[in-house]
Symmetry: C2
Subunit: 341 residues, 2 copies
Amino acid sequence: MASGRRTIKDVARLAGVSLGSASRALSGANNVSEDTIARVQRAAASLRYRPNHAARSLRSRSTKTIGCMFSDLSNPLYARLFGTLEDRLAREGYVTLISNTSNQLDREIRTLKLFTERGLDALIIAPAHERNRELNEFIEHLPMPYLILDREMLVKADTILFDHAAGIAQVVDHLAELGHTRIGLVTANLKSRPGRRRIAAFKAAVRAHGLKLSDENLVLPESSMSSAYDDVIKMLSRKDRPTSIIVQGTGVLSSTMNAIARLGLRIPDDISLVSIGRADFILNHVPAISTLRVDYEKLSEEITARLFERLGNGNGRKPPLRRLFPYVFEVRGSSTAPPRE
Amino acid sequence: MASGRRTIKDVARLAGVSLGSASRALSGANNVSEDTIARVQRAAASLRYRPNHAARSLRSRSTKTIGCMFSDLSNPLYARLFGTLEDRLAREGYVTLISNTSNQLDREIRTLKLFTERGLDALIIAPAHERNRELNEFIEHLPMPYLILDREMLVKADTILFDHAAGIAQVVDHLAELGHTRIGLVTANLKSRPGRRRIAAFKAAVRAHGLKLSDENLVLPESSMSSAYDDVIKMLSRKDRPTSIIVQGTGVLSSTMNAIARLGLRIPDDISLVSIGRADFILNHVPAISTLRVDYEKLSEEITARLFERLGNGNGRKPPLRRLFPYVFEVRGSSTAPPRE
DNA sequence: ATGAAAGCGCTAACAC
DNA sequence: GTGTTAGCGCTTTCAT
């Protein structure tokens, strides 16, 4: 079967043209005759010819491949972003290579080495270890353009940061306006930026409204896949329990909903709920869940725009870009309501 | 930066050896002196040398890459399988390239073309269109070994099929033994094998127990992401509603749980529930949900074993393999109980 | 154990 | 518009 693989040489011979003409005909260059194109294409089709990507990228110095490094693809939030991004890049003729690192440092470094060896054209990365020296140094020496997603690395580079502060503030504003004075937060206590920022932003927003900030209204499981069940049960069983909660839309959310159901509480009658991130598994929830989410279409657009800017010739050492990307607060109306009292 | 990329030539020059020796030293051949190896490695490190994968695979005719084609990676079941598979293959030095096709025929064909162009070493595929002629023909002419996952294609090839019949039968047996006489099924009405087989197996198993098979106990939403909420509400509001249900562990499951909670039913007191597939979002559910699942570790093992068998020299036209892969019924005890009456 | 040289399949530069 | 040729970076002969 390896020997059965046809090369462009075979195509050229069958079409009765030179190797160069065959290449031009196949790649849609402008200086080829209609006739040549037709004959070459017919020859290629009849031979089931498929260009050899290794040879092509060795010569052209482009792999037409973009690498993505996330912590975990089964995180429903990332899975959705990746899907959108893949579609967007495919339209541009790029393949997306993704890698899960499970937040492990050695896997992050190994992944970047791999991406380098494979000569990927550009990268989109969200490393877990923002202050690790070795990782930062490696990233700094990356030979291709790259974009950092919602991480504050030591190295100065193109970065898109989610505006957690403004996003969370919007939600807290909304709940406070409805009359809620006791607001809870349920989110993984991550060391990386999203975790840090979310918690800090929540505290700041609650204080800004002159509400008292009780640690008892904070449920911070270790990871996004941890169960928040027991702690949420405890939090919502208190006499002065929060009347509204903001919940990270991962495994944390499903265990929270589980706890709410178990306590016989109704959304929004007994408790208002807002999800951070629009997880697939609550997409059809009844009632619809208000969500603080990122517009993945727009984000993909933004990411590709930045990447292609660097990929083009306009890469002449423009200063690193730092962009704050907004959240969208999608009030579905039915998951939040004024507190009863 | 492109010009900054070091080649093996640079390494050889700095180490003071020939290009060939440098290659041998780096690839750990046996006919190199310790001294050479040391000097070459030092040179490589100081130059931050990274081998060029395109050149390597052009020459060696191996990309060390395995392609996976699934319908949808945000399907929690597939996401988990992919993660396991990726880890397993990485340990063998292979990179995994995945592609979502969203069950679209043109994307499936485009993906296979892409995989061919990139010269992937082997493929794992689960096409949606099992009887499409063009697709089958394309697959038949694939130049690399491939393995078909739970699909009955026209083309005869290595195939691993999930044993839906035995799996579903096990669950129905369990429920029948507990005394359930009215058992429901909630699963996407897919055209592809998993959908077809699940529904057929359910009907057969119910009949085998002499139970009456009521269409009213079948909820078959269009896709795995569809909401089953309204239909489950309807099904469980009937006087003679099922006392136990088997539910596909995707978006279908979350909307079903949503409906159960809304009706104020308790698991397992009011209704027994078994999930098909162990979705992340119910991993920590209270009570634990009994699950009919595939052992992804074992499956990954099986898949890699098959693939490497074909990849090795033992590929001499052994007849296509057809393997029935078992489900594991994990009774968590607490989500199923005898019906009350 | 080492160096020299061929060549993987392709694109791009150069002649005409 | 077309043919010829060089060479991308590497592995793998073949001499020595």
